[in-house]
């Protein structure tokens, strides 16, 4: 038990170090490299005095490492600065958008994970069968289709031609369950499209990797039915890689959400970030970027811990 805790603590430590490195990268790219923000804000014709004044006000006259520490301190204390575009605290802007994004991600997860596991496990169990080949070809093609294409086609079919679903995801207040579901149907479907395929393929690969192990042949030879052998022998050993696959795919949600939120005009944090890019609102952009990276690292961390807890070799040494 003690070694397990040490292992988990080590993973946690690595995650924290990685997050710090990520913050350095993000800050360097967005604040240090592009040159002088004050000069840019005021334009070419500004007087040197005005530029210097703004520079002092923004803290740009300080050395790079101090600026970084200041920014990092702001992030950690929950106050990542003022949004330049609308002059609101970044904290408030994000707070109004983040729940929406989490809702979309949560809905997608609820739909996609069981579906993907089902597809992955089924095709691994019936490897080489017609079902497996068809599923394999379908998922292979789905993985390679960009999500803006899926979204476009979905709008074309369901909103324009069939007129079943609204083209934009706007949920009225006090929406009924039906309204809620029809509003979310298309974004969730689009996001699921790619990650279901990805997760299903990785699940299948993880299962097949284990099915090739001698202990599965042994189980069959001692009279365990193949389907039962897959569920009781293979699955417990494939949990680690499968959880890892799920985490990686879910992290893909973060990127996929950018396109989906934009297309469906969904007020989440990803579309907020795109807006920040167009308006060059650096404090907002940095905060959004750090949230996405944090989400990625959390997912991977959870997957790692699940893998440690699921493996008796690591669990009780």
């Amino acid at each position: 038990m003690k070694t397990t805790l040490v292992l988990i603590a080590r993973r946690l430590g690595t995650a924290v170090v990685t997050l710090l490195l990520v913050s350095v990268v993000v800050f360097t790219i967005s604040s240090l490299l592009p040159g002088d923000a004050a000069e840019e804000t005021l334009g070419r014709n500004a007087t040197p005095e005005a530029v210097a004044a703004l520079r002092t006000k923004l803290g740009l006259d300080q050395p790079a490492h101090l600026r970084y520490l200041h920014w990092l301190g702001g992030l950690l204390s929950g106050n990542p600065g003022q949004s330049m575009a609308n002059n609101l605290p970044v904290k408030d802007v994000i707070a109004s958008r983040l729940p929406k994004s989490l809702l979309l991600a949560g809905l997608t997860t609820i739909v996609s994970v069981p579906l993907a596991l089902l597809i992955g496990i089924l095709s691994a169990m019936y490897r080489g069968s017609m079902l497996d080949r068809v599923l394999s070809l379908v998922t292979l093609s789905m993985v390679a289709v960009p999500e803006f294409l899926v979204a476009t086609v979905a709008v074309l079919v369901f909103a324009v031609n069939l007129r079943w679903l609204p083209a934009l995801t706007i949920v009225p207040e006090n929406a009924t369950l039906g309204e809620f579901l029809s509003a979310y149907a298309m974004p969730v479907m689009t996001l699921c499209f790619v990650i279901v395929a990805q997760m299903a393929r990785m699940t299948r690969a993880a299962m097949i990797d284990q099915i090739g192990q001698p202990y599965v042949e042994m189980a069959i030879l001692k009279g365990v039915r193949p389907a039962r052998a897959v569920l009781t022998h293979v699955l417990p050993n494939a949990v680690g890689p499968i959880v890892n696959a799920v985490a990686l795919s879910l992290s893909y949600l973060l990127g996929g959400a950018i396109i989906v939120e934009t297309i469906f005009n969904y007020p989440g944090i990803a579309s907020l970030m795109v807006d920040a890019v167009t308006s060059r609102d650096m404090p907002l952009l940095q905060a959004c970027a750090m949230i996405f990276c944090l989400a990625y690292l959390l997912l991977v961390l959870v997957a790692d811990i699940c893998a440690i807890l699921g493996n008796p070799r690591l669990r009780n040494q």
């Binding site: 990520v22 790219i29 967005s30 292979l140 390679a144 289709v145 324009v160 952009l285």
Partner: protein
Amino acid sequence: MTQAAAPIATDKAVATSGLRRAGQFLMALPLSGMIGLGIVVFWLLTAVFGPMLAPYAPGAIVASDVFDPFSARNLLGSDYLGRDVLSRLLHGARYTVGLAFAAALLASITGTGLALTAAVSGRWIDEVMSRMMDALISIPSKIFALVMVAAFGSSVPLLLLIAAITYVPGAYRIARSLAVNLNQMEYVQVAVARGEGRVYISCAEVLPNMIHPMLTDFGMRFVFAVLLLSGMSFLGLGVQPPDADLGSLVRENISGLGEGAPALIMPAIAIATLTVGVNLFIDSLSRSRRTMGEV
């Protein structure tokens, strides 16, 4: 037995055996792989020769109407300004394929090079490099791209750089684990015990055995790069007008969505066939190697 020193392996013999190998390789591909390979070759040729074949200049307004359907004059119809879709597609394919190809190549080569360096260097260099790569890989590709574009403004060289940097860590991880495994191989140990230098060992003993898996990985990175770049263009943050890649073509013609205009459908199909084709080919490649290995 003759005492004359006959050359042991003539170049000709090597060349013919190479051809034979290529033939065997093609024959071993399943149908889906051959289709995939066909599509890949088609798009590569289009990227190289397409602009020469384009009937009109990409920017020329040649049609009387916008969002024309297929016609003899404009084979794939006209776009939202009345430009020839086929011509714009042929030019756009060069951007998409060329940029993604260059980025993936840059990423694979850099990743492999860094991985080889890390594998033969001491523990410290390896540790530091791996930490840096872990950090880079924790920034989702689109997030990284957004931050870069916000900081520097979008341009073709920057897009290339973004895609290349994004996929270096992935290529590095794969290459490093390959190199570390190969370093444990006894033939590498024999070379070390022979007194060979690090450069010889990396280049002559380790690298040749990494090429196959790295080529497969390169294909994957290419698909990812296509998806990333066209996604950025779709957001309006990728290739900037007047130039356009396939993603930009989808974006600029999105208003034709209601009427199902070819101007929107065709670039979309182009992207999908390109990425699906590469995926089909790579998938069959690893599968046929597996069956060949079993025999």
